[in-house]
Amino acid sequence: MEETPKKQSLIRRLCGSTLLWIVLFLIAFDCFLISVRPLQYVQVRGLLTADQEPLNDKLESLYSAINKPNMIILGSSLPMHACFEADWLAANKPQWPTNYISRHTGSEYLNSLFSKNFAQPIHGYNLGMPACMISDSEEIFKDVLAHKIKPKILLITVAPRDFIDNMAQPVGNSRYSRFFADRRDGLNLSLAKKAEENTEELLNHAWRFFKVRADYSRTIEFIVCSSLGRASNIFNAATGRGYKRDQLSEITQGMTTAPYQDPEPGTRSASDDLVVYRKRYLPFNEKRLSTELNHLNALLAMARQNNILPIVVSMPIHPQNLALLSNLEQDKTFASIAQVCADNNTRFINLSDSNNYANNDFSDSVHLRSQASKRFFDELISALETDSTFSPQLSQLCSNNSKRIASK
């Protein structure tokens, strides 16, 4: 009976503590950010917030999936769009939100083709990522293997940009490398580091908001700059990179996440796209090509070591886009890819200059529209069917899998 007043006074003291309330509010705010991820509803040109990073979503759902996929699809936005477009069309144009493109992990249409043509239950997982280089794909796949996920098939889609992009960050400093670096598990505190660096490291791990604070400041900055029609800083003002008022509408569009609609041909303006791709391709970066080929080699070797069947397929792209590279440069790129594949005993299906795609099949100079996406997967399956060794290999892989499941 005597202890009750003491307890009450302790509770009252704790309730009256400003410090404890501050800590409580900060934790609550952080939980809100983690669960709601508000910035996923905001679309700002040139800014990809952590809330919007599709790789995070895709990997999280892959690692938490009960039924692990037996095929992984790697590549840039080309296979990412193709999987989405084909599935969307196959599902009879459902009301999927626009920002779902980068989060769509399925490849239902391709799965159905495997099932129909090879009578094998293939469950593909689309890990295509925007602006992904081959070196990034290797890093992504390493992470997949590190999480003890071993598919039967590794479908690597390639395009010339994936090997020679002049606008890409150096290997190890890309958006995906930074994502993996930031996502590392352990605290990396060290006496050799400055106190501020250690504090930053600690806060980044302890508090989500501290980690994503730049996303919030840049989004708010964008909104303010756009509303006032002014540049964000003196450098931008001096160089004429000021934000314009009309960009504000883009943010609100992002917030509404309107249902996806098949883009009209050339919606993303093929000519604008070609200007960008000219910068990406030229001058032809042989050094980067060689580096990325090494990573392709490593990726294929890694698949082989893990008894995974790799298939490399070159995506169809607009002839005008391909023509930005000289014949010599095209030959060099595709011959090198073919050589690396041959060295690793891997099938290389080159659909880059397929005649089955007309201007209307592209929404810009590289991305396929929905009908063309289906046709691409049809063409891929046809190419695999013509290979007499593929079907038995696939059957063997799938039966091994069934036996292993049965023995368990």
């Binding site: 400003t18 309330w21 919030y216 708010i220 303010v224 002014r230 800083n233 931008n236 003002a237």
Partner: protein, 452 residues
């Protein structure tokens, strides 16, 4: 922790904190501490030689401060361009003034501190070591000797103060600094209203910068159970320049009063002598801020303003109607506005190191000429859409600060924040933390008073 360990541990932590900037200078602070402690004890026992010991002690401290702080000014005065590579030790102006205060108090008959550790901690206490407030040893000694335990209430008081201080610095002062820097990079292109705006911005920048530091220092000290006196008391609602100095950098202004103005004779020897003492005190106070002519001019400006105020006060006494008018609400408001603008003119001298440029800016501000520097018809240069977004944001911020100065001050005077329930205070602090982390600039300049 056992009581006997607390002071040595706090001293070691304070020395470690100081060494994190430049380890070699720890020898300076230890050397000065040893000298002043020994000298203080000798001074207490000096008998007839007391005055000589006192003068020597003060001279030694001033020589040390002068060597580090004024050698380059002296060399430059002898021959333009002469320069010696002398690094100014952090906080030397502050801890030297604490030592001088200590010797003064011993000379005036107070007892010296027996414990070297306590004396060393008095000078090196990390929350106040770099930029004050300048402490008084009897008060601080009493706190050191008192039984202090780690209490949740200390954190409840200290942490909000630290958060408010950091928000003042990172959220307000540093963003205002970008704007001020932009304006003062080329003041020739701006008209009078724009230059006034830059002056307002700097007035708030320096206030938030310095009072922010003081809040962080006071909050940090409070975590250990120490109460450091306030250094600012809503200075921009001062009703006259004397009132301003009762509210601005209080620890320095009281130090100057006690150890410079009063020893010079104070106001005991007639009007002219009082004016001379005021003038000298403020001029030296200005020079204390830095070895640069602009600080001297700033000090002289305030000295003259104080003299003018004193004369006006005497004259006003004979004019009953004027006295009544100034005592009214409107009179008060006008007094506050006039004082604030006078202080802003002073800040131009403080901020602009090139004295010719400072006079140029002040001339434009006072003559309102040119009223507008038009690059485009109907536009103040500062409103040009090509300028970055920080411009309208800061203009709005300064307008808000000017408008909020009085209400916030009244709220503060009534202790609304202090008396608010804990969850409400916590909401306020949490919002400050979130705003601070989101909006602080990428690069934060050091505290302005670190250079002194």
């Amino acid at each position: 922790m056992p009581k006997t360990w607390r002071m040595p541990m706090l001293l070691a932590a304070s020395y470690y904190f100081y060494m994190s900037w430049m380890p070699a200078f720890i020898l300076l602070i230890i050397g000065m501490t040893l000298f002043n402690w020994l000298w203080g004890n000798l001074l207490a026992k000096a008998g007839e030689q007391k005055k000589l010991f006192f003068a020597l002690g003060i001279a030694a401290n001033l020589l040390c401060l002068g060597f580090f702080k004024y050698t380059n000014l002296l060399l430059d005065s002898i021959a333009s361009g002469w320069h010696a590579d002398i690094i100014l030790p952090l906080g030397i102006s502050f801890f030297t003034f604490e030592f001088i205060h200590y010797l003064f108090e011993i000379y005036r008959g107070n007892k010296p501190m027996k414990s070297l550790v306590l004396f060393a901690l008095f000078a090196a206490f990390f929350p106040t070591q770099i930029a004050g407030p300048i402490k008084r040893y009897p008060d601080f000694q009493a706190q050191m000797l008192a039984e202090t335990k780690l209490r949740l209430s200390h954190f409840d008081e200290g942490i909000p103060l630290i958060i408010i201080g950091m928000a003042k610095k990172l959220l307000l002062a540093d963003n205002l600094a970008t704007f001020v820097q932009m304006g003062l990079a080329d003041p020739h292109v701006y008209g009078a209203p724009e230059l006034w705006l830059f002056a307002y911005a700097f007035a708030f920048q320096i206030y938030f910068d310095f009072s922010g530091y003081t809040d962080i220092g006071r909050g940090s000290a409070m975590l250990f159970g120490y109460h450091i006196p306030i250094n600012f008391n809503m200075p921009y609602i001062a009703r006259n320049i004397a009132d301003f100095w009762h509210r601005w950098h209080i620890s320095l202004s009281t130090w100057l009063r006690d150890y410079l103005f009063i020893p010079l004779g104070g106001s005991r020897n007639g009007r002219l002598a009082t004016h001379r003492n005021l003038f000298l005190t403020m001029a030296l106070g200005g020079l204390w801020h830095g070895a640069s002519w602009n600080f001297l001019v700033w000090g002289i400006y305030h000295g003259l303003a104080l003299i003018l105020h004193k004369e006006f006060t005497l004259w006003k006494e004979t004019k009953v109607a004027l006295k009544q008018a100034l005592a009214s609400k409107l009179g008060n408001l006008l007094s506050i506005l006039l004082t604030f603008h006078a202080v802003c003119i002073g800040w131009v001298f403080f901020r602009v190191q090139d004295i010719n440029q400072a006079f140029f800016i002040v001339k434009r501000m006072l003559t309102f000429s040119p009223l507008m520097t038009k690059l485009e018809a109907g536009h103040l240069l500062i409103l040009k859409p090509e300028l970055p977004v920080i411009v309208p944001v800061v203009i709005a911020m300064v307008a808000f600060l000017l408008a909020a100065n009085l209400p916030v001050s009244f709220a503060s005077e009534r202790g609304w924040f202090r008396k608010a329930p804990a969850p409400l205070k916590a909401v306020f602090c949490t919002l400050l933390i979130l705003c601070m982390i989101t909006f602080m600039p990428d690069k934060n300049p050091p505290f302005i008073y670190f250079q002194f």
